[in-house]
Amino acid sequence: METADLSHHISRRFNEDLERVRTKVMAMGGFVEAQLANALTSLIEGDSSLGESVAIDDIKVNGMEISIDEECSRILATRSPAAGDLRVIVAIIKTITDLERIGDEGEKIGYIASRLASMERPENKYREIKHLGRIVSEMVHDALDAFARLDVDSALRVARQDRVVDEEYEAIHRQCITFMMEDPRTIRRALDVMWVVRSLERIGDHAKNICEYVIYMVYGKDVRHTRLEDVERSLREAAPAKS
């Protein structure tokens, strides 16, 4: 009787630990999402102080990463989780790295935005960046939703979205080159825009990585560096791994 109670107690505490770390990851994700949204707003609306505050606040993202990392090490050391629990911890450790990188890219965008704010704004008011930014923000949002819900279907959908981002990146790239050839005076600004677009494209990649960790968590399958079609086919055959 007593032993049964004890084991129940331990697993409950363990569950609470896991749940707390997961909530922390989601909170970090939420903060990163807000950072990205603010960085884009500061760029599109030419709000230099908002861009600066994004660049400064990146330090909070770093702090969150370190604190979650420590908590994960503590869980690994004291609870020695196995199977599904272990996969959750591993996925969390990887996810926060990607989130931190997304934060870094957001910081870059914020920094560039605060600089671009003092320059002449293009006629289209960075419409293409707005469009790409919206796609990428949605990817990050949906990737985190998929992470919270352990929803493989959504994860795959987000991963597929990465191709759209790549195409869009290519298109803006060409457009910028055209602008630079037409009028060399725009080169400086176009280069800055290129940096922002590059950052957004990287953020899309990080969101895709998070989706791959979701698949790893649920199926126990490492799908990194695999073509999306192959991933989908192998997932159709496989059943979710037992946790």
Binding site: E19, T23, M26, F31, R134, D145, A148, R149, D151
Partner: protein, 445 residues
């Protein structure tokens, strides 16, 4: 215990059977064998009925009740009656429940039931639509895992649900949702979610309009006031015109200060985070304010009491304008033979307390709750004479909000009023231990 009629019949029948058995036994010469056989038959009959009843109860749905005589029949009909009654009540409860669920589902606001750990226990259709929740996956999920906005997390953590929280959501940040949490039951929470995008848009339109209109009014007013001032000082001015001109000048100046207050308010509106601030010497501000009051032709006696040499951390201009409005109000509504006092102290709990008390006309209790509203005036005619526009206390309220402070008003009609600002302890800077100054306070100014 009182036997029913059926029980008496049963006892009578058993007695009769035993008698018949005994008689038959007596005829055959074995009385006890006869009685035993009769009892066995009676017992067999009862067992058969019991078996039938049991079978029926097990398969009650599909079979008709057994046609049993005597007490067994009564048991059967009693069971049927209870069963019917139960079914009736169940149906009624179910109807009520369905009705309740239908009505909450049809509610125009999102409703989410949360347990102690902020896990979703139930949500209605509107909540699902507003927050993009899925019925199958998202039950037992922590809400802050799905609504990840940092402001939302802070709201849940602070657990102060007096005011609803409004956050921008969606990929274009154009959807505004208002969250309201109502605690109930055993640490459960009801969360109401409303789409307030339209209200927010209207509100920002209103603010923009006020800001733009005041801004546009300012330049023509400056021109008018400028000419009026020149005319007013012109010694060649017709005697007949002197009265009207000085009245026009006074009114133009009034309009100027209305516009200034409106601009100040819309500027305060636009700032939504608390100001870090710089150390302010309250004693110096108080003596400056006193001079302002004494500059008026008819003024009450003003005394200053400084009980603490602590500095106040805040935005210098905002704080000055708030304190100015408080002191100016007190001076306006206190007759020259009255008196007023400016008092700065630090309470036992470490709060900075700035109080302005007067022996003026006071405010009736029923007006107190609304007095900090924009353009609200207790007595429109009276305050117009005094040159009030109902914006002063609105400015005070906004400034105090920016500093995390609160305003308390004590007043009795005909006796006087005391307006007290309480600043949180972290905004009070004690001079003796300057070591504990937060980094922001060190910023040069």
């Amino acid at each position: 215990m009182k036997f029913s009629q059926a029980t008496w019949f049963l006892l009578a029948r058993i007695g009769l059977t035993v008698l018949v058995g005994a008689f038959a036994g007596w005829l055959l010469g074995h009385v006890f064998v006869g009685v035993a056989v009769a009892l066995a038959l009676a017992l067999g009959w009862q067992l058969l009925n019991l078996f039938l009843l049991d079978q029926w109860l097990r398969h009650r749905g599909s079979r008709d009740p057994p046609d049993a005589p005597g007490i067994w029949g009564e048991v059967v009909s009693e069971v049927v009656r209870l069963h019917r009654r139960k079914r009736y009540h169940k149906q009624r409860l179910l109807d009520v429940f369905r009705e309740l669920r239908r009505s909450t589902a049809a509610m125009p606001d999102g409703v989410i039931v949360l347990n102690r750990d902020w896990e979703i226990a139930w949500f209605n259709r509107m909540a699902g639509r507003l927050l993009d929740l899925r019925r199958r996956n998202d039950l037992h999920m922590r809400i802050n895992n799905l609504v990840r906005e940092p402001a939302f997390a802070r709201y849940l953590e602070a657990a102060d649900f007096a005011e609803p929280l409004t956050i921008a959501r969606g990929s274009d940040m154009r959807t505004y949702l208002a969250f309201q949490v109502v605690p109930y039951g055993a640490e459960q929470h009801l969360m109401l979610v409303r789409d307030v995008s339209r209200q927010v848009a209207l509100e920002s339109m209103r603010k923009d309009f006020v800001a733009n209109a005041s801004h546009e009014l300012r330049s023509p007013l400056t021109v008018i006031t400028g000419y009026l001032e020149t005319l007013h000082q012109d010694p060649m001015l017709d005697l007949e015109l002197q009265g009207p001109i000085s009245e026009m000048l006074r009114q133009a100046q009034r309009m100027n200060s209305i516009v200034r207050d409106l601009l100040e308010l819309s500027r305060l509106d636009a700032i939504d985070k608390q100001s870090d601030g710089e150390p302010i010497d309250v004693a110096a501000v108080a003596s400056m304010l006193r001079k302002d009051v004494l500059a008026h032709a008819r003024h009450p006696a003003v005394s200053i009491r400084i009980s603490s040499d602590a500095l106040l951390l805040g935005d210098k201009e905002e704080i000055y304008s708030a304190f100015f409005n408080l002191v100016d109000n007190a001076a306006k509504y206190t007759p020259p033979e009255g008196s007023m006092e400016i008092h700065w102290s630090v309470s036992d709990s470490g709060e900075g307390v700035f109080a302005v008390s007067d022996t003026g006309i006071g405010i009736a209790a029923e007006y107190l709750p609304r007095i900090t509203e924009r353009f609200y005036r207790v007595d429109a005619g009276r305050s117009r004479v005094k040159g009030g526009f109902g914006l002063g206390l609105a400015i005070v309220k906004h400034v105090l909000q920016h500093h995390g402070a609160r305003l308390e008003i004590q007043s009795a009609e005909g006796v006087g009023s005391t307006f007290t600002c309480y600043f949180p302890a972290k905004r009070v800077l004690h001079q003796v231990n300057r070591v504990s100054i937060p980094a922001v306070a060190e910023a040069p100014h």
